[in-house]
Structures are given as structure tokens and as C-alpha cells.
Symmetry: C2
Subunit: 331 residues, 2 copies
């Protein structure tokens, strides 16, 4: 019998196929191609092919838009939103609109075209995470923005057009729907129980241990009970914290260690899959709230969304999270 499961935060239902659980090898395998590096705008030595850099972690003595960087942030050449201009909020009859103001940046994770984030050493992943935090803290100063979404598209099926390992961020003048829903769900749960729903989830998961993928002193990685996608994995701080940008320096290497371990396993079990990950954190104007909890959501792209998913908001997941956790633990 398939099972209907409800996500305790957003209230969305998923259909979990519990009978014939799909094994990792049963998903269509996508070859990760590495495109020609001679035209890659993100490779070291090609700094002039991108717009001028916004920020970089660089070796002592190196200059902006020249080699010598470890992580480099540039504006997206084809931005979804434009950085200049006023919001000009306006109505149009019953409709609402505003100018598409926002930052759209590319975070080039390392100078080496062939090294995906899971290939990097601890120190290099630290740099990527420090950069996520640094860009958030910087964009927070712009009063037009309410939220920064950091995300990564890896592989063609996940929407990546360039293969050089990179993340992106988009700073937005509104809190996006998905995050608003999580915060509202967290608020309702908090009103009822006076506890953070994510903290309760962490307690239950570390107790029952059937969906734990990995952990260390400070962070936990799980397959969520109502996973939308096969091998969907969340990484969360064990101690309550609503805003990623408040993470202390000394915790970043501990997070990097677990992220690496999780991504290495996902790559091994799913044979180099395409995936998206997103970083969900509290909006700028709500730092330090008791009912929200920052987290990474990693979503391998193994299934296709169709009419049922678009029409209902339901998801069909052919691999129960408990099975997925087992594969990942054993990897």
C-alpha cells in the first residue's frame, strides 16, 4: 500500500511508494559532461570574461579580476532581476506588480573546472560557506531586500548551463512563498506547542534513527519523513538557530565536514546525479525567531514533475526516505 505523508512544516502531502521501493540503480542515469574549459568564464585566468567581481577570497597580493582567488563572486551575466532602480510598487486593477529589483550573483566555488564541491577539501568548502554568509551580510544592508536565496544547480537535469562548479544567489524584495509557508507553518506549530517544529523533528529523528544520514556534534543530516524527491536530504543545526548569517566562524568547518560527507555519499550511491540545493533561512527583518530554523535542502533530480504534481502540489516519491537513508548510511 502506498503511504500518504504530511510534512509537519508546510502541510504538503507526498505519496511514498512503499511496496516496490525504487533502488538507486533503477533511476535513469545522466552522464555529467564537463564542457570545454577554454571558453569557461569561471576558470582561473578567464576573469575578464565575467562582469567585474563583487567579492573574492584571494591569496595575499593578488588583484581583483585576476587569478589568485579561492572563491569568487560575480554578477550573473543574464540576471533574472536587476540591481539598480526603485521598487515602484503599483497596482493594475486587481493585480499587484513592482520593478524586478534584485541581486543575482554567481559564487564560483573554486578555480578548478573539474572539482565539484564534494571533491574539495575541508578548507575549500569552508571558504564557500564563509562566502555564502559574507554575501548575505552584505546584501542585508540594502533596505530594498527582504531575503537572499542561496542555491546550487548541478548538472543539466538540475538546470545548470555551465559545468564549472558554482552556486548562485538571488536577493529579493519580497519573502518567497516557500519560505513564507515554512515560517507560517513553524509559527502555527509554535503557538500550539511552544517549540520549534524543526527542533522537534531533530529530536525525533535522532531518537528513532531510521532516516539519519549523518551527523556530528553540531549538525544533523536526514531524509525527511515527507521527502518530495527520492534521496532528498536536509542538513540542519542541532541547536536552534533561525538565521544562517548568524552562524559563528568556528561552526562553519563543522558544517562543511557534514556537507562533504553527505554530498560524497549522494554522488556515490546515485552515480554522480544532477541535483539542486537551496539554503532556507529567516528573512532579514525577522532575525532570531523561535519558530524557524535554517537548513539546507538537497534535491537530487531523478524524477520528473508532471500534470499531477503541478495541479495538486503533491509529490510522488518512489523511494521511501528510510530506504534512501540506508543506502546513504552504507555508502
Amino acid at each position: 500500500m502506498p503511504q500518504l505523508r504530511r510534512d509537519p512544516i508546510s502541510g504538503r502531502w507526498v505519496i511514498i511508494s512503499t511496496e516496490r521501493a525504487k533502488r538507486p540503480t533503477e533511476y535513469k542515469h545522466e552522464e555529467q559532461k564537463i564542457n570545454d574549459t577554454s571558453n569557461c568564464p569561471f576558470c582561473s585566468g578567464h576573469e575578464k570574461m565575467t562582469p567585474p567581481e563583487v567579492m573574492a577570497f584571494r591569496d595575499h597580493g593578488s588583484k581583483p579580476d585576476e587569478p589568485g582567488w579561492r572563491v569568487r563572486v560575480v554578477p550573473n551575466k543574464f540576471p533574472a532581476l536587476k540591481i539598480e532602480g526603485p521598487l515602484d510598487k503599483a497596482g493594475e486593477g486587481i493585480y499587484d506588480k513592482m520593478n524586478g529589483v534584485g541581486a543575482h550573483e554567481v559564487i564560483i566555488e573554486n578555480p578548478d573546472h573539474s572539482k565539484e564541491i564534494h571533491d574539495l577539501n575541508g578548507k575549500q568548502i569552508d571558504d564557500v560557506l564563509f562566502m555564502y554568509r559574507a554575501r548575505m551580510l552584505d546584501l542585508k544592508k540594502d533596505p530594498r531586500f527582504e531575503f537572499v536565496l542561496v542555491f546550487k544547480n548541478r548538472g543539466y537535469a538540475a538546470g545548470a548551463s555551465l559545468t564549472h562548479p558554482h552556486s548562485q544567489l538571488i536577493a529579493l524584495p519580497v519573502v518567497p512563498k516557500r519560505v513564507r509557508e515554512e515560517i507560517q507553518g513553524g509559527e502555527q506549530y509554535y503557538e500550539f506547542r511552544e517549540r520549534c517544529v524543526y527542533c522537534d523533528m531533530i529530536d525525533q529523528e535522532t531518537y528513532v534513527r531510521v532516516r539519519v544520514v549523518g551527523e556530528n556534534d553540531l549538525f544533523l543530516a536526514i531524509e525527511p519523513f515527507a521527502s518530495r524527491f527520492p534521496f532528498e536530504t536536509w542538513i540542519m543545526p542541532k541547536v536552534h538557530s533561525s538565521s544562517f548569517d548568524l552562524i559563528p566562524d568556528q561552526e562553519i568547518p563543522v558544517l562543511a565536514q557534514l556537507m562533504k560527507s553527505v554530498l560524497v555519499r549522494l554522488n556515490k550511491v546515485l552515480n554522480n546525479p544532477s541535483y539542486n540545493y537551496v539554503l532556507h533561512t529567516a528573512p532579514f527583518n525577522q532575525p532570531n525567531i523561535p519558530h524557524y530554523h535554517w537548513h539546507f535542502e538537497i534535491m537530487p533530480k531523478l524524477t520528473q514533475l508532471a500534470g499531477f504534481e503541478f495541479g495538486s502540489g503533491f509529490y510522488i516519491n518512489p523511494t521511501p526516505p528510510e530506504e534512501a537513508a540506508k543506502y546513504l548510511q552504507e555508502a
Copy 2:
């Protein structure tokens, strides 16, 4: 400057690229393949290849599971949900779950493998729509179900695995999130203005006429102001009605006429695209409500969703609905 637009029903924001509007020919074209008919379980003469039929419109004298049908409904051979069994709602710590009880049916739109819905004549499309209504009315009798979602996946990019033209339906024990959101949004709007938000949208669209794709006495087809997808098209009854299953017999041919006209244009302008459509209607236990309005949403599959969309719930639409409406009007 790109524009941020808010859907007045669900509150979701979309980013509309207004500067370099993408023309239909700029989207990657997908060839619609017609697979071998000798193994097609939906072709006339192959009735034994499907589970026994649930319902069919048949020529006088023809027998179930034999040729002679015009529209035929069979259980999905690989159902997402199972028709037998109790719901067994239960908790698991902080989580909620129930048995995956539901109907998953295939509506074979016509016996001819090569005739897509837009190729059919008026009477044949009437039959398909009469069948949607008949299945809803039948499944409504089962007290375990709260909602039936009718949907169609056309083409590989839209998730279709078989090319013989067919729709599907899934009867669900809960109201799906997307419909719940629309109803809640409609309710809030109604509380404030005492009018249906869809009716107001219809008034505004028929007045400004920049997003109208087609209309007749009873139905209107528009590109919605906050279209998530390029060439997204909605078809709605002009007179308020919340439940599709209450549509009077004499209105079905009028709806079929507009659906055909819209699908023919979409096929012409987008060169045979893959698409999904979904039918949104009020839940079984809320018939005849003043704040909801049934409608079809047609979503051509021209763009790819990636980390930003999954993480935010935002959509990026490279063709403004006003441009899309122009192309479709001129077709």
C-alpha cells in the same frame, strides 16, 4: 526592467522578463514522437492489454473491453494510489500519515493513436469533457474521497510515457495543497470585497483585452497576468461556477469549442509543444461556493525549473503574457 507580478489568488510572485521577450521560436523545440501502435494498450482492438474498463462511451451494441468505444476509462496499470482499503489515519510522533487510498484512472480520449485532442472534432471533444464530468460524479459517491484532479500530460517533456492521446485522473482523500491555496486566497478576497476573485479577473481581462486568447458566449481563455510559464493559458466559465461537475449538458459543446480553438493555436504557435493541463474545481464537500471558480490551466513545457524555483516558489517567465496573447490571437 524585469517585472515582479503577484497572482491575486495564490499570492505567488513571478518574474516576467519584459525587456527581451522570448519569441516562440527561441524555445528549444521538442519533436513529438509517435510510438509503435502494435504494442499500444490504448488503441482500439487492444482492449485486453488494459485492466477491465471502468466506464466507456460506446456505440450501441458494442461490449465492454471490446472495440466500439469513443472514450474509454481504465484503471492506471501502475497507480500512484490504491483503490481498496481504509484510510487508517495515524500519527508517528510529530508526523501524520494515512494509507495511500485513491483512484488513478486513464481516460483514453479516442481510439485513434495519432489524433491528439486538438485534432478531434467538436463532438469528440464533447465526449472527453462529458467523461471528465461523469467520472467526477461517480467518484464523488465514495465517502473516502475529497477531490478529483483531472490532468493531461502531453509529450515526453510533460511526463507522458505513452503517446496515445489520454488524460488521467486521481481521486484523493485530501484536498491538494494547490487547490486549498486557491480556495483560501479566494476566501480572503471574498471577505474583503464580497466578490469572486476569478469573476473580477474575468471582468478586468475582458475590459482591458491585452491578455485574452479567445472567448465565446460562455467561456473565456486568457494568459494570466502572473503567468508562471510562457504561454500558460487558463479557460474559465464567464458566469460564476465553483464546481465543474455541475456544468449543464448544453454548455459542454461551447466549452469544447473554445478548448479546441485554444489548443489548435498553442500547437501552431509553439510547433507541437509538450504541455500539461489540469482542471481545478471545488472539493466534493464544498459545492457551490461563492469564492471559488473552476478553470482549466494549460501549461506548455518550454522552460526548466531549477534550484531558484524549488527553493523560492517563484517562477521566471521569459515571455510576458501580453506578448503570448498576441501570438495566439494572430495564429
